[in-house]
């Protein structure tokens, strides 16, 4: 069976470049699963979990915003942040969510920023809690 090539890059480093059987990423509105032979597409990422399965092994990352591009069995992710699931700081994520939640927001922009910060914190927590089991 054909394999996928999966590349995750952030502005600071190439986080992962690996072969995979199946990749799951979180788009702006929910998860999408990408197997070999997927139709070419460019999608906007949301913040959430990314899973790379190769054989019996599976890797999990927290990914925050950016794009995913799939073409010819190559999945490339361009994202601002990609953290391996076991490296997420649970306390910091919780803190971020709480401070964002308690912030006053008077304008639509501030509200949007707050929503985003809360969503980011929540997504991180979700990823990290799944990692713990």
């Amino acid at each position: 069976m054909a394999e996928l090539q999966c590349i995750v890059v952030t502005p600071e480093q190439t986080v992962r470049e690996t072969l995979a059987d199946f990749v799951t990423v979180t788009l702006f509105d929910g998860e999408i699963g990408i197997g070999p032979g997927h139709t070419p597409f460019i999608g906007r990422l949301g913040c959430g979990e990314m899973r790379i399965r190769h054989g019996n092994e599976s890797e999990r990352f927290y990914v925050e915003g950016g794009f995913v591009e799939v073409v010819g069995n190559v999945v490339s992710l361009l994202t601002n942040r990609a953290i391996p699931a076991d490296k997420i700081d649970e306390k910091a994520a919780y803190q971020q969510m709480e401070t964002a939640r308690n912030q006053a927001a008077h304008t639509p922009e501030l509200m949007a920023a707050r929503e985003q910060a809360v969503a980011q914190g929540r997504a991180q927590l979700r990823v990290v809690r799944r990692a713990i089991g």
């Binding site: 890059v9 502005p11 480093q13 597409f41 906007r44 794009f67």
Partner: protein, 298 residues
């Protein structure tokens, strides 16, 4: 005796200075490696963004975004000068500041409101010395600027630009071209003149002969553009910071290497002078003894 002793003292102090410059050279070599790796990583990211934009234009989409359009009137400009936090790096800070000064003068002549923002202690003190007001100063970007830090800055500029508080953003930094060549440049980052990769019909694709691929866009091509344009601005700004960091390390390494070599040659010539002085002294003493003995014999 006095002369030889003084020479020896000088030689000792130069030796300890040489130790310092040599260590600094080694440190900046190591830091340069690290900074270089980061610069390579960001250019990999930037390349992918360019490719993405290329694919978007191939799909027959016109890339339009408020950030790409210049405002009708430029009444608010910002100038960001990236200098180093530390000195001892040769002409690095000097050339950035020289460019910054002349650009500032030029902007002040044409634009009514110019905001000066400076990163790096050296730049801050230079502008303060010239009694030029700095609107915002940063010292947190040392030799390892992180994307998260730069993003905060970038987001602020983007917001200002879109709300009309800012019409133009210039960045003065030292561009890293190769190991042997870095130079200070002024780059206009806002308005983004053109998105790299746009308007080239995607020909820069890794495989130029590949047939045009029909992409699916989720949620829509327009929404991807909305996201790509700010992302490419952020990456550009981040690249400026990284280039500046790499160039600083190179400049420091070269400066310290020269200093070490100079110290070496100074130690050499001082050693010769010292040996000569010591020898002269010994000869003098011998002569005195011989002369004394001769006088006694008579």
């Amino acid at each position: 005796m006095a002369k030889a002793k003084a020479l020896d003292r000088r030689r000792k102090s130069i030796r300890s200075i040489r130790k310092i410059t040599r260590t600094m050279e080694l440190i900046s070599t190591a830091q340069f490696r690290k900074a270089m790796d980061r610069a390579v990583a960001v250019s990999a990211y930037a390349k992918r963004i360019v490719a993405l934009v290329g694919h978007l234009t191939t799909a027959g989409l016109e890339v339009k975004h408020p950030l790409l359009e210049a405002h009708a009137e430029t009444s608010n400009a910002a100038l960001l000068v990236l200098s180093a936090n530390r000195g001892l790096c040769g002409g690095y800070n000097g050339s950035v500041l020289r460019h910054g000064m002349s650009q500032l003068k030029q902007l002040r002549a044409t634009v009514p409101e110019v905001r000066l923002e400076v990163s790096g202690k050296r730049g801050i003190s230079a502008f303060r010395f010239r009694k030029i007001e700095i609107a915002e100063r940063f010292t947190q970007f040392d030799n390892k600027p992180t994307f998260a830090e730069v993003e905060v800055l970038a987001n602020r500029y983007l917001e200002w630009y879109q709300s009309g508080r800012l019409d133009r953003l210039d960045v003065v930094y030292t561009k890293f071209e190769s190991l042997g060549r870095q130079y200070a440049v002024v780059e206009t980052l806002l308005p983004l003149a053109q998105l790299d990769g746009a308007g080239q019909n995607g020909n820069h694709d890794e495989n130029p002969n590949s047939p045009h691929i029909q992409y699916e866009f989720l949620p829509s091509a327009a929404s991807i553009v909305d996201e790509v344009v700010p992302a490419s601005f952020k990456v550009k700004l981040f690249k400026c910071f990284l280039d500046a960091a790499v160039s600083e390390q190179i400049a420091r390494r070269v400066a310290m290497k020269n200093a070490t070599e100079n110290a070496d040659s100074m130690i050499g010539s001082l050693s010769i002078a010292y040996n000569r002085a010591r020898q002269g002294q010994i000869t003098g003493e011998l002569l005195e003894i011989v002369g004394g003995a001769e006088a006694l014999n008579k």
